[in-house]
């Protein structure tokens, strides 16, 4: 049985903000199925009582002194932006109707 359906892949693509094509969906559905069936092997390990490892370095709450240091100027920070306006990143509209006016 397939681990993942074409419809599920389409859902994942939407969640991932990827406007995939129909052709890609066909290809990815087969490939993701192979990969997910392979990685599902982790389920064979009896690990119910084992604590998870998220990170190999045992560090928590690393602090720095609260000292002001130089940082990027607004111009530098905006230098790679696709669009900028009044020292801000300009983005496409986020609301259905223009409520600004």
């Amino acid at each position: 049985m397939a681990a993942i359906s074409r419809e599920e892949v389409a859902h994942l693509a939407r969640l991932s903000r990827l406007a995939v094509t129909e052709e890609e969906l066909d290809t990815f559905a087969g490939q993701l199925d192979v990969i997910l069936q392979a990685v599902a092997q982790v389920g064979e390990v009896a690990a119910a009582d084992i604590p998870p490892t998220s990170h190999s370095v045992p560090l928590t709450n690393v602090f720095r002194d609260d000292v002001v240091t130089p940082c990027l100027t607004p111009q530098e920070a905006l230098s790679g932006a696709p669009d900028a306006q009044e020292q801000r990143f300009r983005v496409p509209r986020i609301l259905d109707e223009d409520v600004a006016s």
Binding site: L18, V42, A81, V91, P92
Partner: protein
């Protein structure tokens, strides 16, 4: 006259320091070499001719003024395009960052500049460091100088190919699942993955933050150790950086070069001995084991029962972290923006931008990660993989109670032909079978040339306990002293 491109970093630094040659001459020789061969190798995505010559002139000026030069002053270095370089294009092998010139230097690059090295340019890689062949680069694959119809490994294939083609004596890579060591193995060069946290991730474009580790690539073990020393050490701007001195890797490489491993206990992992590796690779590895025995090492076999689950665990953990990290590529702050026609919504523009900017492997991993992290599957996939990670760490800890280091072939197969594994993504993942356990554990690993199989290089991997990076340099240097460095055919 000496061909400056055939020298080691140690030799170049010596000639520059003594004034027998200038940093500008050395740099020009490498720029000429790049111009002559990179059309066939495609190791570089960007060559910074002016920046390199300016840095070289600065070294020569400082020397003329009587300033004390560091051990790598005047030595050219190629930098994997995953590290930010101020004003110099940084693409991560992706269309989504095409043309981006970062406003700041990564810590590694800052340290390279402070050491007086000369950055030649940025090297090719699989997009976002996801791959084992550079075939997933958006800018075309790099080619293996041993056989240009074959892959140079990945993701850092550009850095390794640049070394093997004598375009640079030193290079920087990054290793998330083997991306320094596997390219080193298949190009007959040396690649070291430091202990996680031993080298700074500040300015390293993130793929999998709990695994990503920048590190040195070179043609000799001592050169790699010197580069490791120059870039390593605590960085307050990386919160996972380890606040401890760099292990004395240079002294260890020099000790190893004496060829005496008396009293060193090395373990061969039983689980790596099955059908995983090609016969030619196993033959070269077994011969190297005999050599290590003759050098005085004691060899024992050690079982690490959970290593067999490292590959599936990795291909859940790394994609999960990637799906989160790559959310920042949204067409807002840097890079590509597609479809912003004044009518489409932000979300539509984001989806079109990411669709156009990411290649197929990156899309696959983002979707796998999104799947593994979704509420219904989290425990069975991501959560379970994190538990397996704990068990793999326990295997390493138990092994290092019995031996000083573990050894294995670096990769199961020699350089494969371009196109051989791109149609089946999982076949590509198998290239990292032997390198991945170390990343999950967080310890250091190095690949050093150990011989040839069918005329192609084979690498031996040494894995050491966390913050015992010096041990792997000692063993690697000892093997190198017996085997010698591998010289690729003349391009």
């Amino acid at each position: 006259m000496t061909d400056l491109t055939k020298l080691t970093a140690v030799e170049i630094a010596g000639l520059v320091a003594s004034g027998e040659t200038s940093a500008v001459e050395v740099t020009q020789a490498h720029l000429d070499r790049i111009a002559a061969v990179d059309g066939r190798v495609n190791a570089f995505l960007h060559v910074d001719t002016e920046g390199a010559l300016a840095a070289a002139r600065e070294v020569d000026t400082r020397r003329a003024a009587g300033a004390e030069l560091g051990p790598l002053a005047g030595v050219p270095v190629a930098v994997k395009d995953v590290l930010t370089t101020k004003g110099v294009p940084t693409t991560v092998g992706s269309k989504i960052l095409e043309g981006w010139r970062p406003p700041y230097d990564s810590t590694i690059v800052q340290r390279l500049r402070a050491a007086g090295t000369v950055m030649l340019g940025k090297t090719n890689m699989d997009e976002f460091a996801m791959g084992s062949s550079t075939e997933y680069s958006a800018y075309g694959p790099s080619r293996n100088p041993w056989d240009t119809d074959r892959i140079p490994g990945g993701s850092g294939g550009g850095s390794a190919a640049a070394l093997a083609a004598y375009e640079a004596p030193l290079a920087i890579g990054s290793d998330t699942g083997g991306s320094i060591r596997q390219p080193g193995a298949v190009t007959g060069t040396v690649g070291a993955k430091p202990t996680y946290g031993g080298t700074s991730r500040y300015g390293l474009v993130a793929f999998s933050s709990s695994l990503d580790t920048p590190g040195p690539c070179a043609r000799t073990v001592l050169d790699a150790a010197l580069l490791h020393e120059a870039i390593g050490g605590h960085d307050p701007r990386d919160s996972t950086s380890i606040a401890a001195p760099v292990p004395d890797v240079v002294a260890a490489a020099k000790l190893g070069a004496t060829g005496d491993l008396t009293g060193v206990r090395l373990g061969i992992v039983t689980e790596f001995g099955g059908e995983g590796a090609e016969p030619g690779v196993m033959a070269a590895f077994n011969e190297a084991v005999d050599t290590l025995t003759k050098l005085g090492a004691e060899i024992v076999e050690i079982s690490c029962p959970n290593f067999g689950y490292a590959l599936p665990a990795y291909y859940l953990i790394a994609p999960s972290e990637c799906s989160s990290n790559l959310a920042r590529f949204d067409g807002v702050r840097f890079g590509l923006r597609v479809g912003d026609d004044g009518n489409r919504s932000l979300e539509e523009v984001m989806s079109l931008t990411r669709e156009a900017g990411f290649g197929p492997e990156v899309k696959r991993r983002i979707m796998i990660g999104t799947y593994a992290l979704s509420s219904g599957y989290y425990d069975a996939y991501y959560g379970q993989a994190q538990k397996v990670r704990t068990l793999i760490t326990r295997d390493f800890t138990a092994a290092f109670e019995r031996v000083d280091a573990l050894i294995s072939p670096t990769t199961p197969f020699v350089a494969f032909p371009l196109g051989a594994r791109t149609s089946d993504p999982y076949q590509m993942y198998l290239a990292d079978l032997f390198t991945i356990p170390t990343n999950l554990y967080g310890g250091p690993g190095i690949s050093v040339p150990c011989g040839l199989a069918d005329g192609l290089p084979v690498g031996l991997q040494v894995m050491a306990p966390t913050m015992a990076d010096d041990r792997m340099y000692r063993v690697a240097a000892a093997l190198e002293s017996a085997v010698g460095t591998l010289t690729p055919p003349v391009l």
